[in-house]
Symmetry: C2
Subunit: 190 residues, 2 copies
DNA sequence: AAAGCCACTTACTAAGTAGTAAGTATTTCC
DNA sequence: GGAAATACTTACTACTTAGTAAGTGGCTTT
């Protein structure tokens, strides 16, 4: 009804995600967020008492988005190859913005994190791997895709190619990343 | 001749490397190093004036070690497959110690680093990729290995599998990493 | 219209951060 | 034996960090 005012909490989540993808979890502070959003750091603490709570919120949001993506690609008329493209394009988007996958970013700091966050990260990864696995399985079954590995292992191979691919792209440039993407497609093509 | 006293500088480099691999670059401080080595933080600053200098030193040491590895595996009588195993076992060692590859670790914080360090990282990566590429090329030439991609692209695929593989292993366990390693070998086997 | 909640701000603290200037003990060189 | 270099320690500073307690203004509910 009324024009919704800027949702501060949403903005914090959005900016926090970006900061993790661009600079890393332990490289940004609440001050970075409050300055950018022109609020006081106490306002950030109001929504997320500790930095761990913010990280948990960010991961939760990610899980939510992947759930939505999962429903979206379950729509009829989408080929397995197209579904795979959707996943790849998510990483390509990151690459284009000089960002890296949040899982890979947070992984460096994994051992500085509380168990609750570690568990959430595990949940997120299993979900993503599970979705890719399902797509690969379907594609293999209907003859659209082919590969010698099991769908689970192939999903591990593809996801590690993509995750480390965007990391590598920061240093050696996008060309290497693009070559990786092409190979991923080629490897599963019939 | 005389018993060499503990080389403080070497110890700092060793511990710094470990801290990056275990906790990440932006997650450790000079205090962590000085406490562990039972010296004062000023002693760390004496050897490495700034944290960037320490990181540069660590990467330099890594480059040096890979150069040595390069000479070692150029010895006669070593098959391409064995050479590839040497690379893989380096990552398997990391995985066993719950560490991650220094390149992957530093990559999250890449955008917080000075150009000098970025350049060194690029040098390190090109070197490692170049070595793997050479091994693959040789193996393909003498019929020991086979793969559809170019040696360069295959080295990208293998290195991203390994780098992100050890990251993943932190969260989902070593089983996934082992499956990745097995697939890497299978994919290039004739 | 009073009471209460929400989303903040004001104002602060304790601890940790990288970094430095000056001093000291020990060895090395001439 | 004196000078200089090496490898530190002592003692500190300026700054940033996450985090908090108390207050405020506006909106809603009763």
């Amino acid at each position: 009804m009324t024009v919704r005012p800027t949702d501060t909490k949403e903005e914090i989540l959005r900016l926090g995600t970006e900061l993790i993808q661009v600079y890393g979890y332990n490289a940004f502070s609440y001050a970075d967020i409050s300055k950018e959003l022109d609020i006081k750091n106490a306002a950030v603490h109001y929504h997320f008492p500790g930095k761990e709570d913010l990280l948990a919120g960010i991961i939760d949001q990610y899980i939510q988005r992947y759930k939505e993506l999962g429903e979206k690609i379950n729509a009829p008329g989408i080929t397995a190859k197209q579904k795979l493209d959707v996943f790849i394009s998510r990483y390509t988007d990151l690459c284009e913005q000089n960002k890296i996958c949040i899982i890979g970013s947070v992984c460096s700091d994994y051992n500085t994190m509380p168990e609750s966050v570690k568990a959430k990260l595990g949940e997120l990864i299993e979900m993503v791997l599970g979705m890719v696995e399902k797509v690969l399985q379907q594609g293999k079954k209907n003859g659209e895709l082919d590969f010698p590995e099991t769908a689970r292992v192939k999903s591990l191979l593809i996801m590690t190619n993509l995750a480390a691919g965007v990391q590598l792209a920061r240093i050696t440039g996008k060309k290497d990343y693009m070559a990786i993407c092409k190979s991923i497609i080629d490897q599963v093509s019939t």
